[in-house]
Symmetry: C2
Subunit: 337 residues, 2 copies
């Protein structure tokens, strides 16, 4: 274990993004480490997660979480090691996950952190295939989507952190899976590495509705939507009777780039449902889900591709990459080993 | 009972509407009455229903029902009296509902008809407050919307056949109800005759989202959508946590007039659901629903305003009125007494 540094390197919000977020919205600031008071622990951040939800967190009114003020340390999930503690449930050397933020040596409430079990997975696994994005895929497919074996599941951003897990979880439950991704390289990942039955390269298709119809000739039972916009609208044209649209994300839609949906009328004749959710709604079931995921990972049935950026300073650049689709797999910033 | 005529007056499909349907899409044709064969009955049509779903039925591929061909008698629900029968379950003088079509003396399969109980309501009641539009409101509010007492229910086309029933059924179940309608006269109907707590005149509002926010300061638990388009998009901005959008109709949207939805991203942060349905999905529960409705009508808690047009020849004009919003209440064509 490294010695605690005396300074905490942080990345704070400098402005709210109007379009795609990136380095211009953040500033670095180094502050003294704050000694924990009762109930708190001092952590060393190891890995921090870069997530699409961050753009929502940067809005003036995110709706489901408190807003960030300009000057606040950027909110981020992460995994870290306890350096010193004044909280009964945690000791120096314990590994935890939680909202560490973009900072190297956070001092946080112990009650807000979750001690992780390194028997189930490595620290980076706890941000990856056992982490929030994996849980989002799990509850999206099983609880919101209510997948039944033999159904056809269409996943957008299928090479992305949530999409790759959604497809694999659906496959393990007996679904036929079709993934949508941008470019031949990502489509190869989708079929060869994540085991989707088929991939659709949206960048190579003029007519996504026709491409979805060709890949899903009997229609789509579950469309797991990570992108919104035109691809969602195309998927609605091929939703099956009693189909479900799991509304998970809308990474294609920004304040400056908004596309209307024209096909929600299909929900009537198809008796179909679109439903949104937040993964924390299922917090009571996280343990069971993580044990299931760990067993599938150990059995070689599921894995997650992680795209690691080296150094806390890369976090804003990582957020930019996520929204331009330059990442290959789940984006994580390595802060320390 | 009148003597059976020897001719059957019919109105057939002449062309598929591209925008709002109306008389130009239909033609009259008089044909000989066809004597029933085994399993069939000859009816005298009394009242025929004019419904928004008719525009969908006129499409080349309605999706959930077989398409109508050019030259086919227009499909329509109706109530009639049996004149002669070769079907065990029905005798001359019985009253029935079913898909009579726009014709005065249809010969139909007895198995496709439902004998009605005149103790529960008059023949016209069986097209009105006990009919398909009332059942649509009932199952939309209770099964799709899963209303709980104390919730706020927003209904569009609230003076229309389904909307007025949706609001009253919600009120009886303990909801606060807000209705959207076009014009001061319809808004007066909504509050004074149907007992909604408040009405919004969409024709008088520049900003529907603001009007909905003002009328529903705590947000909307159930939005019962009969119109689609801009009003749906505005309602999505004020949907509450765990809110439900009951996708029942989209009368504002035609092939020539389509508005995009921009606010479905709200479904994520609000954990909300949009769900479509077809009333026939609940056919097993029709009896129970009709008994409940009949009891509420008898108690004076619910009633339906019926707009009667006189004569089969008025049916195409009735369909035009429905799509221009000129009707006051549930539209019915009276064919015979």
């Amino acid at each position: 274990m490294s010695e605690p540094a005396t300074t905490n390197r942080t990345i704070v919000v400098a402005s709210r993004p109007t379009g795609k977020p990136g380095p211009e919205n953040f500033a670095s600031r180094t502050v003294p480490v704050r000694a924990p008071v009762d109930g708190e622990v001092l952590l060393e951040s190891l890995y921090l997660s870069i997530d699409p939800a961050m753009r929502v967190w940067l809005e003036e009114d995110p709706g489901y979480v408190p807003p960030l003020a300009i000057g606040d340390v950027m909110r981020a999930f992460g995994v870290g090691r306890v350096l010193a503690g004044r909280y009964d449930g945690l000791s120096a050397g314990d590994y935890v996950t939680g909202r560490l933020g973009w900072q190297s040596q956070p001092t946080l409430q112990g009650a807000d952190l979750n001690k992780i079990d390194l028997e189930l997975g490595t620290p980076i696994d706890w941000l990856g295939p056992l982490g929030t994005t994996a849980l989002t895929a799990y509850f999206g497919i099983l609880r919101i989507g209510q997948l039944a074996a033999g159904e056809t599941v269409l996943v957008s951003a299928a090479a992305g952190a949530v999409g790759q897990m959604a497809g694999q979880i659906a496959r393990v439950h007996g679904a036929r899976t079709v993934g949508i991704a941008g470019g031949a390289d990502k489509c190869a990942l989708v079929t060869d590495e994540f085991g989707f039955d088929q991939a659709i390269d949206y960048k190579a298709e003029d007519n996504m509705a026709a491409a979805i119809a060709a890949a899903c000739p009997d229609g789509v039972d579950i469309y797991f939507d990570n992108v919104g916009g035109e691809i969602l609208d195309a998927a609605l044209t091929h939703i099956r009777q009693k189909g479900r649209v799991v509304v998970c994300g809308r990474i294609s839609q920004t304040a400056g780039h908004r596309q209307g949906l024209y096909n929600t009328g299909q929900l009537i004749g198809r008796r179909a449902r679109m439903e949104g959710f937040i993964v924390s709604d299922f917090a009571d079931e996280f343990d069971a889900a993580q044990r299931w995921l760990a067993a599938r990972i150990k059995a070689g049935e599921i894995h997650q591709k992680i795209h690691v950026l080296d150094g806390l300073a890369q976090a804003p650049e990582g957020l930019r990459m996520l929204f331009t689709g330059e990442n290959f797999g789940k984006l994580v910033v390595k802060v320390a080993d």
